[in-house]
């Protein structure tokens, strides 16, 4: 089995046009990484083989750009089991589908997947004005940090995705009040003391480079920024102003958690695909 054959990404679809919004991104990622797109639909009802693509709101593509898998049973469990079996490196999905409602940032199935998946999920907001198409070629990934710990495993996953997609990275520190500074060992938050900013800021930047540079692809560019304000708003504004293509967020997997405010806010309004990595 070649490396390209082993690579897999999973695109869960529920047959709604909203869920099919993610197809373009999935195909683009597939093109960039050489991964196979596995379209997964979970249903207990028999479906005709003919017209399946139409049923799933998928365009018919001649080159076999994706493979459709019909699964049965628990929807989320089946998708995750399939991902595990296929050794998928990423799930690409729309944030909305049949279970979505205007009151919720993401649909119920999407939320469950986000909470349970151990691999990165690229979430496409269904109402995005210009959802990425197969020709999408991302260049930069924005990684906002609001003082939350960036665990080793998260750093590695974020940088792995960036490497595979050939992305440059912008790390954005956001200073904010109303949240506790992280206490975890190894956390890299904003400096508490700026005795002399002419030295403390460069030192802080240098320390950042020490901590993260070894994870970076040698050809990629890494930039560090610092902003203040409400993290989701600052993130979206920064992304818009700086030509970002993907926003990467780490989270603990609890959308009701106060600390997931950034995730909620960004998912609700992002015009860019959002890469979610659970700590």
């Amino acid at each position: 089995m070649s490396e390209a054959e082993r690579k897999a990404l999973v695109l869960p679809l529920d047959g709604s046009p909203a869920s099919a919004t993610a197809l373009g991104s999935a195909l683009a990622v597939s093109r960039l990484t050489g991964a196979t797109v596995h379209v997964v639909h979970v249903t207990d009802s028999p479906l005709p083989e003919h017209g399946l693509a139409e049923y799933l709101s998928l365009p018919y593509l001649e080159d076999g750009s994706y493979v459709i898998h019909l699964l049965s049973g628990d929807i989320v469990g089946s998708i995750l089991d399939f991902s595990l079996q296929a050794q998928a490196r990423m799930i690409v999905m729309s944030g909305q589908g049949k279970t979505s409602s205007p009151q919720r940032v993401v649909g119920g199935t999407a939320l469950s997947l986000m909470q349970r998946a151990s691999i990165p999920i690229l979430v496409i907001r269904a109402a995005m004005r210009h959802p990425p198409g197969p020709e999408w070629r991302p260049r930069r990934m924005l990684v906002p940090l609001e003082g939350a710990p960036l665990a080793d495993c998260v750093i590695k996953q974020v940088f792995d995705v960036a490497r595979e997609l050939g992305l440059d990275m912008d790390i954005l520190h956001i200073a904010t009040s109303g949240r506790r500074p992280p206490l975890e060992t190894g956390t890299f938050g904003s400096p508490r003391y700026l005795d002399y900013p002419q030295y403390d800021w460069p030192a802080w930047s240098e320390e950042f480079l020490y901590r993260f540079y070894s994870y970076l692809h040698p050809d990629a560019e890494l930039r560090l920024f610092h902003r203040r304000g409400k993290p989701d708003t600052v993130t979206l504004r920064f992304a818009s102003e700086n030509g970002e293509d993907v926003i990467a967020l780490s989270w603990r997997g609890l959308l009701q958690d106060r600390q997931a405010g950034t995730v909620r806010g960004v998912l609700a309004r992002s015009e860019l695909p959002v890469l979610l990595i659970r700590t």
């Binding site: 200073a175 904010t176 190894g186």
Partner: protein
């Protein structure tokens, strides 16, 4: 995660536990050298000893005390070899059952007169390591020899003797069966009784005749290597004796582990002859054991052989010896007091730079970050020498030069390099022992082929010889045999910018040792580092060579490593620059040769002794708050390490010598935050720091002149000659270009220097300093202030367009701190000049001549001081930080809690400047320094007002707020500030400490404890105390150098305070309770004050309480 009071790693835990048993006196407390004649300071690593009569009185004695003591030795890594004629069961019952724990693996029991050796595994399970098993023929020969002796004796006399057959590899011919089990102490009686029995029975040759018969029959019957001994009751014929135990020890422990014979002590009680026979322990003296120290604790009535040193004293002396040996070992190991340890376990590349800063080793002359010798991309090593600056370009500011990394060491196993990857690190423990400035490390490393290597290292920057740097590394293959190569050298730091230029690398002329030297480009300083490594004595003789490449130059050692073999490399490095003398190369090589003649242990002990003296003067002891004690020790460690009493051309930068990020620049922090610690703990260092300001007066005069002012204005950021080094702007990660105005506006640094001058003089009465330098500094800074003031319409003098300590507000008018401290500067300058004129007119005349001082100037200074605008405050006593401050947006920092970044970062620069948000102690600094200008109510009102508006965006801030809170009795707040100040570096999880420790904040911490909780105030009429301890502190102890005496202050639970005065006889110093008149305290006396009636009572001479 805070690193304070972290659990002690397993290996070190045993050491700490071992220390908890205090040594009981019993013998004169002579130095180790007096007792261990053969080894000076070097502790034995193997002790072998006879059991019965040496370690215990007899086989019925209670062996638990000696078992405990020996177990301590085992825990300290000493191998203990018990040698006995009896069998293992007896030793197990009496001794071995009392020893437990993993270190029992260091115990070996040699039984049955050299025929068996027993050892223990890591779980304490017994196993036999050696057994000499006699063949049937040998057993038969032993029987025949014993029986031939018996026949000869009994056939030629009336004497009947018994043969004991059931002994391993030997037969005992019992000459006096009616004495079944005589104690050793009865040996004199036994000897007489045996001889009488033999002779009265007709065997005129006595015991000696039996012994000779045994020798003769052995030869005749073919037992050519018979071991014949006598304990007076028996004559024994055997195949082995104690010499076999010694040989086994030499081969299987010493040689296998590469421990030199000089590190072995063998103890017995019968080395000398008894009844014409050699002592039974003399068998342990074998010719091949050259270098082994033989010690006898026996009575030895007939003296000891020349190889043996006689201690005497019996088992009690043996126990004392064991305890002394443990004590000696502990001197080389981490302190047992956890408050003096910083422990780092494992390895996190993310945090490595923080650890390096925290583990910095320094002696004021030179500092080295505590980087791992292996180094990889996570390391940021740096060695910095105070005062060695250079520039990146002609226009760039000076910064400290990063010198070659002398810790650099790489270890290869079969050519595979040990790399610091987490997957390879089974265990790693690092300990900074702050009591003696030593970094210890143990690493268990497993490579990809499962080879496990144990590495132990010890390194330090000598406090006794400031140019000497020492690293010792021991490598032990745990489970393999393979080629080991160690390269250790001087590596040019790739991150050094500016780098040394014209670097030359060379090996020593005799092929040993290496050196590297280079020169700074713009400042022209030549720097030399010379290194010589050596292999610690042992049986392994590695190949040696040197190698040089673009990275640097190394000494390389190569040997065939075997399981359990400990090979130790000791590396000495000497660093000199042309600032130290004309020929740094000559000086470096000279010191290297001198140090090379010393044992590592000697070098470590003199270093530890030097640290001990500094702690004695500087130590502060808090009982009841282990955390606070740890924070304080950490602060004092880095402060002590930063100061250099021998160099007046350097001072202490904001990160001392622990990191390059502040470029080694010297700020107001030095005088306001660091200097007080040295003034009251080590005045020579304080003097050197202030003299640095004297030597940089020229730069200060130039800066004043450039601004159009008179006198001298010190650089906000100062380096080698006092030129202003503050950059004009900085780029924040927000993309903002931040103009840096401190170099232009923070003129209060002048007052900080003046305050330092006066405080030093007031505390020391170092008149020479005042005459030579202090008065001139005061006069020149005072002149500046006069020219800096402007007369306002109100007729008062104003200081406009300045920046106070609160750097959130730039270009303000009448910053109260600046104004009042300027007035302080002016008044004290006048006072100093007046004093000079009265006491030393020649010096006064010289000053007038050299700086053109006019007679009317002191009066003008006083007038100016009186006319400087000083806000009278609001009706509630709250003073305005600067003109217009109260008009700014009011802001309460509590509204923003919690927050993830410094508050000014969150609010933004513009809003911060337009608000009352304060960066750090500004007015509150005045509440500390000029406390007497405020009444109690306004002190409190001002503190509370500014406390709510202070962001503490500077690490300098919390300690000063804590100090004032402590004086005001706001204990809860004071303790919270103490925590914040104490954990700035220790609990840093934001990378703040990565570039170096916040040494000025540490000076602030000392001030908070001593001046705040301890309530110490140095005034001109005396030193005053008014402690206010938190209720959880059961006591606070500190000492203060005060006018030639040393005051040892102890406060117990806010109830009793004692002051012991140390100093020359007949001297005395004024000391008092704050708020009352001082009392003359005499050197050699102690004084006490009690808390009564809601205040401290007057000091009274104490009656020894």
């Amino acid at each position: 995660m805070a690193r304070h009071l972290a659990p002690i790693p397993r290996f070190f835990a045993s050491i700490v536990r071992a220390r908890s048993h205090p040594l009981r006196p019993g013998f004169p407390a002579t130095s180790a050298g007096d007792i261990f004649v053969s080894m000076r300071q070097r502790p034995f690593r193997i002790i072998a000893f006879d059991w019965d009569g040496t370690a215990v009185r007899d086989r019925r004695a209670d062996a638990r005390p000696v078992a405990r003591a020996l177990q301590e030795l085992m825990e300290l890594g000493v191998y203990v070899v018990l040698i006995t004629g009896t069998n293992y069961t007896n030793i197990e019952r009496q001794f071995a059952c009392h020893v437990s724990g993993p270190h029992k693996g260091n115990l070996y029991v040699c039984t049955n007169r050299g025929s068996e050796v027993f050892g223990y595994d890591a779980r304490g399970e017994l196993f036999q390591l050696y057994l000499r098993e006699a063949t049937d023929e040998e057993n038969e020969l032993l029987d025949r020899v014993a029986e031939a002796v018996k026949r000869e004796v009994e056939s030629s006399s009336e004497v009947t003797i018994d043969i004991i057959y059931d002994r391993l590899n030997r037969r005992k011919i019992d000459l006096i069966p009616e004495w079944p089990d005589p104690p050793k102490s009865q040996i004199g009686k036994l000897l007489k009784a045996t001889e009488r029995r033999l002779r009265e029975g007709g065997w005129k040759e006595g015991i000696r005749g039996v012994f000779q018969a045994a020798q003769r029959h052995s030869q005749e019957l073919g037992l050519f290597d018979a071991r014949i001994t006598s304990d007076v009751k028996h004559v024994e014929v055997g195949l082995t004796d104690k010499s076999d135990s010694i040989r086994w020890m030499l081969t299987e422990i010493a040689q296998r582990r590469n421990i030199p014979y000089r590190d072995i002590a063998v103890l017995g009680d019968e080395f000398g002859p008894i009844a014409g026979f050699e002592g039974s322990d003399f068998r342990m003296v074998i010719p091949e054991a050259e270098g082994v120290a033989y010690l006898s604790v026996g009575k030895e009535p007939n003296g000891v052989p020349p190889q043996v040193e006689h201690l005497g004293g019996g088992p009690a002396r043996f126990l004392w010896f064991v305890k002394r040996l443990a004590e000696l070992h502990r001197r080389f190991l981490p302190s047992s007091d956890r408050a003096f340890l910083v422990v780092e376990e494992g390895f996190s590349p993310l945090r490595e730079r923080e650890v390096e800063s925290i583990f910095t080793m320094a002696n004021g002359y030179l500092g080295t970050r505590g980087s791992l010798p292996e180094q990889d991309e996570s390391s940021s090593p740096a060695t910095l020498i105070a005062g060695v600056f250079d520039r990146r370009s002609r226009q760039a500011p000076e910064e400290l030069v990063i010198l070659p990394d002398w810790l650099f060491t790489r270890i290869y196993v079969d050519e595979e390099r040990l790399r610091m990857k987490r997957r390879n690190i089974v265990e790693q423990h690092r300990i900074l022992d702050m009591s003696k400035g030593v970094v210890y490390r143990e690493l268990l490393y497993e490579d990809i082929t499962d080879r496990i290597t144990f590495i132990r290292s010890t390194c330090f920057v000598s406090m006794a010889r400031p140019h000497l740097l020492v690293l010792r590394v021991t490598v032990v293959p745990r489970n393999y045999r393979g080629e080991i190569r160690v390269e250790t050298g001087l590596r040019l730091n790739p991150r050094a910018n500016p780098p040394l230029r014209g670097v030359e690398k060379a090996s020593g002329p005799d092929g040993s040792g290496i050196l590297i030297r280079g020169r700074t480009l713009f400042t022209g300083v030549e720097a030399v580092m010379a290194q010589r490594s050596r292999v610690a004595p042992g049986f392994v003789h590695p190949e040696y060579g040197t190698r040089s490449d673009d990275e640097g130059i190394v000494e390389a050692w190569r040997w065939d490593g075997r399981i359990g073999q400990e090979v130790t490399l000791e590396k000495l490095v000497c660093a000199y620059t042309s600032l130290d003398g004309a020929d740094p190369l000559f000086a470096a090589i000279g010191l290297l040769e001198e140090a090379s003649r010393l044992d590592f242990e000697d070098i470590l002990l003199e270093h530890a002794e030097a640290w001990s003296k500094r702690w004695e003067a500087a130590g502060v002891r808090i009982e009841g708050d282990e955390e606070a004690q740890h924070w304080l020790n950490f602060a004092l460690y880095h402060l002590i390490a930063a100061g250099n009493p021998d160099n007046e051309r350097v001072s202490i930068g904001a990160r001392a010598l622990s990191g390059p990020i502040y470029k080694g620049h010297i700020f107001w922090d030095s005088e306001m935050f660091i200097l007080p610690f040295f003034i009251f703990s080590h005045p020579p260092t304080a003097r050197a720091m202030i003299m640095y300001r004297y030597h940089t007066l020229r730069g200060a005069r130039a800066k004043a002149a450039a601004g159009g002012w008179q006198g001298a204005l010190y650089a906000w950021e100062s380096t080698s000659d006092g030129e202003e080094m503050t950059p004009p702007a900085a780029l924040a990660p927000t993309g903002e270009v931040i103009p840096i105005l401190s170099g232009k506006l923070e003129h209060h640094i002048n007052a900080a220097v003046a305050h330092g001058v006066w405080t030093y003089w007031n505390a020391t009465h170092d008149h020479d300093f005042l005459r030579r330098a202090g008065a001139e500094i005061l006069a020149e800074t005072a002149r500046f202030w006069v020219s800096r003031t402007e007369e306002g319409e109100d007729g008062l003098l104003h200081i406009r367009e300045v920046e106070g300590p609160d750097e959130y507000h730039e270009g303000v008018d009448d910053n109260l701190y600046t104004n009042l401290m300027a007035a302080y500067n002016l008044r004290h300058a006048a006072k100093a000049v007046d004093f000079l004129e009265k006491e030393w007119p020649d010096d006064h005349a010289r000053l007038r001549e050299e700086v053109g001082l006019q007679p009317e100037e002191p009066r003008q200074w006083l007038e100016a001081a009186d006319r400087i605008y000083a806000d009278g405050g609001r009706p509630d006593g709250v003073v305005e930080q600067f003109a217009g401050y109260f008009d700014l947006e009011d802001i309460d920092v509590r509204r923003f809690r919690p927050h993830t970044a410094a508050l000014d970062t969150i609010l933004g620069r513009e809003r911060t400047a337009a608000s009352q948000l304060v960066k750090q102690a500004d007015v509150v600094m005045l509440l500390y320094l000029l406390e007497e200008m405020f009444d109690e109510e306004s002190l409190r009102a001002n503190f509370l007002y500014y406390d709510r508006r202070t962001a503490h965006g500077s690490s300098l801030s919390p300690a000063i707020y804590g100090l004032v809170a402590a004086r005001l009795g706001l204990t809860r707040e004071a303790l919270e500030y103490l925590r914040r100040a104490g954990t700035i570096d220790l609990a840093d999880n934001m990378g703040n400490a990565a570039g170096g420790v916040h040494v000025a904040a540490m000076g602030g911490l000392w001030q908070q404890v001593v001046m705040g909780f301890g309530g110490a105030r140095a005034k001109e009429d005396g030193l005053f105390l008014y402690p206010r301890l938190p209720s959880r502190w059961s006591s606070l102890e500190f000492s203060l150098a005060w006018r030639g005496c040393r005051l040892k202050v102890r406060v117990r639970r806010n109830r009793l305070m004692t002051v012991e005065v140390e100093g020359d006889a007949g001297t005395g110093v004024p000391v008092g309770i704050y708020g009352t008149a001082p009392k003359e305290m005499k050197a050699g006396c102690a004084y006490a004050s009690r808390w009564t009636g809601g205040t401290w009572g007057d000091f009274e001479e104490a009656d020894g309480e």
